[in-house]
């Protein structure tokens, strides 16, 4: 009895591997009104950019079979406001370290954000999102080109002592190539996957349903793709992986960890059921016991043996 569900990420020990994913938990405030979010392993804040952004026009949301599309387009108040207001205020309802998700349209913007966050005690990990469909570097998204990915990694690493996790895009021919490039450039860990590029059409209007035409697919539909990518990347790198994409149950958490994730993030499922992370954390020890797991850390990557 007494399953150990704690995990660790680059020196940071988490009570459990459950982390709400960036963009699906805001800055935690709305959820903190529903339950004490200090039970979470950590959470990843909404992707922040150097400058404030409105994001894309609406509709930004569409439903798909076992999933959803979003084209929020990185709406955020900009890193300065996030650093001074949001993160400062967060202490009132969350007393653990958070993951700061940052994005940019140029290397300089990533660097600006990382620098700004470097001195903030509260931040455990900086998660560098190079996989948002809107972010471009020389015509190709940073996340779809190994050289650009490495470049961002190096630049960000140079300006902060915080552990840096690069968040990878699944919209690539070979995700291990990008993963290895990031590892070689000094990344402390990897987060994968971001959303798959998808689309829906409004049959009555005969137009793309989302104002942005395309959007990012997430939710249970993408789970097998995410799992495959975590499995492949685990074989290609030595740095820890935060696995995500479609997780919506304690069994999914265990499956993702067996594929190679040291911790997991949960996105779309928190939008469908705001209590899902709490429920999963409560369920994890039982599910582990059923599968004769006494320490969750033992199963990381176990499917490879």
């Amino acid at each position: 009895m007494g399953v150990d569900i704690s995990v660790s990420l680059s020196g940071l020990t988490l009570d459990n591997p459950v982390i709400p994913a960036s963009g699906c938990f805001g800055y935690g405030k709305e959820f903190s009104e529903l339950y004490d979010i200090n039970i979470l392993g950590s959470f990843s804040i909404k992707g922040t950019t150097k400058h404030p952004r409105f994001g894309n026009p609406t509709p930004r949301i569409a439903e798909t079979p076992s999933g959803m599309l979003n084209a929020v387009g990185l709406q955020n108040p900009g890193i300065d406001v996030v650093a001074t207001n949001h993160l400062a205020y967060m202490g009132r309802y969350f007393n653990k370290k958070v993951i700061a998700n940052i994005s940019g349209f140029s290397i300089e913007e990533f660097v600006y954000c990382a620098q700004k966050l470097d001195s903030i005690e509260q931040i455990g990990i900086i998660e560098v999102n190079i996989s948002c469909p809107n972010v471009h570097g020389g015509g190709i998204a940073f996340g779809t080109d190994a050289n650009s990915a490495a470049e961002v990694t190096r630049a960000v690493k140079a300006v902060t002592k915080k552990p840096i996790y690069i968040k990878l895009s699944p919209n690539v021919t070979d995700i291990t190539e990008i993963a290895v490039a990031c590892e070689n450039a000094g990344a402390d860990g990897l987060s994968l996957i971001n959303t798959l590029l998808g689309m829906r059409i409004d049959l009555k209007k005969r137009r793309p349903l989302l104002a942005n035409k395309t959007g990012g697919l997430s939710g249970p539909a993408v789970f097998p793709v995410a799992l495959r990518m975590v499995y492949q990347v685990y074989e290609a790198v030595k740095i820890p992986i935060m696995g995500m994409g479609g997780i919506s149950s304690a069994a999914d958490v265990i499956e993702m960890m067996m594929a190679g994730a040291s911790a997991v993030q949960i996105g779309a499922a928190t939008l469908k059921n705001p209590y899902i992370c709490k429920e999963i954390i409560e369920r994890l020890p039982l599910e582990a016991e059923r599968l004769r797991i006494t320490n969750l850390k033992d199963i990381i990557g176990v499917a490879h043996l």
């Binding site: 409105f54 026009p57 609406t58 509709p59 930004r60 798909t64 929020v72 939008l271 059921n273 705001p274």
Partner: protein
């Protein structure tokens, strides 16, 4: 707050329109114009539906079959469970109302105005009501508003009941100093243009979380970006930006 409601009844009350009575906790629902977000088996996202009335042990919603989700809802029956996140949105602020409020609803924009009317009456400000529909088959709740004691005018696009035309064609007949309105975007814009008083407008947007966390439903207003699920769905005339 997530509540597991029990369905008491699910009644076909007009063309494609159903009234569903639910039993369960309503403590988080403080204002008219708020909504609940309903989970449906086999659908990933929840469906936002306005609170039409609060009853002794639950609430009433009215919905229209628009797509697969609402079609599925129409197949549910008494005794079935319904999981919903409840007490969402700001709702109407009746304190800001003048003394002669006019409520203007179009289609499934009508339901939230019913609880609003009751709340206004409770503070001594019995509203007048305009209900707009496509045709007579689609009309619902006319008698319910009348039973509250509201002067109620129905408009239908084809003239098959009441005033022929749009809700705005009925506005001139009323003496009012404030409006509350809910309905399709084109109607809201027309009401905005054809009325001059202060007022509150309830908007629709596609939502994911509906609790203000995902930024799925943001709109620009003169008072900054607002999340229609949390800072809305009701906006005041002076803050609205039409895009």
């Amino acid at each position: 707050m997530v509540v597991k409601y029990r369905i008491l009844s699910n009644t076909h009350i007009a063309k494609d329109i159903y009234e569903m009575c639910l039993s369960g906790n309503t403590e988080k629902i403080t204002n008219s114009g708020q909504f609940i977000n309903i989970q449906l088996d086999g659908f990933f996202l929840r469906r936002p539906i306005s609170v039409c009335d609060i009853t002794d042990d639950g609430l009433i919603i009215i919905y229209k079959i628009l797509g697969d989700g609402t079609r599925y809802m129409s197949t549910l029956s008494a005794g079935d469970k319904l999981d919903a996140v409840t007490g969402l949105g700001n709702g109407f602020d009746i304190k800001k109302s003048g003394n002669k409020p006019l409520l203007i609803g179009g289609g499934v924009g009508v339901p939230p105005l019913y609880l609003l009317a009751k709340r206004l009456i409770a503070v001594g400000k019995t509203p007048s009501v305009i209900l707009g529909f496509g045709c007579a088959d689609e009309v619902f709740y006319k008698e319910s508003f009348e039973a509250l004691g509201c002067e109620t005018v129905v408009t239908t696009v084809d003239g098959s009941m009441g005033v022929k035309g749009f809700v705005t064609d009925a506005v001139k007949g009323f003496d009012y100093d404030y409006i509350f309105t809910c309905g399709p975007p084109l109607m809201l814009k027309a009401v905005y243009d054809k009325t001059q008083t202060d007022g509150q407008f309830s908007f629709e947007e596609r939502m994911a979380c509906a609790i203000g966390a995902c930024m799925g439903c943001t709109c620009r207003t003169k008072k900054g970006y607002k999340r229609l699920c949390k800072d809305g769905p009701v906006l005041s005339r002076e803050e609205i930006i039409w895009e």
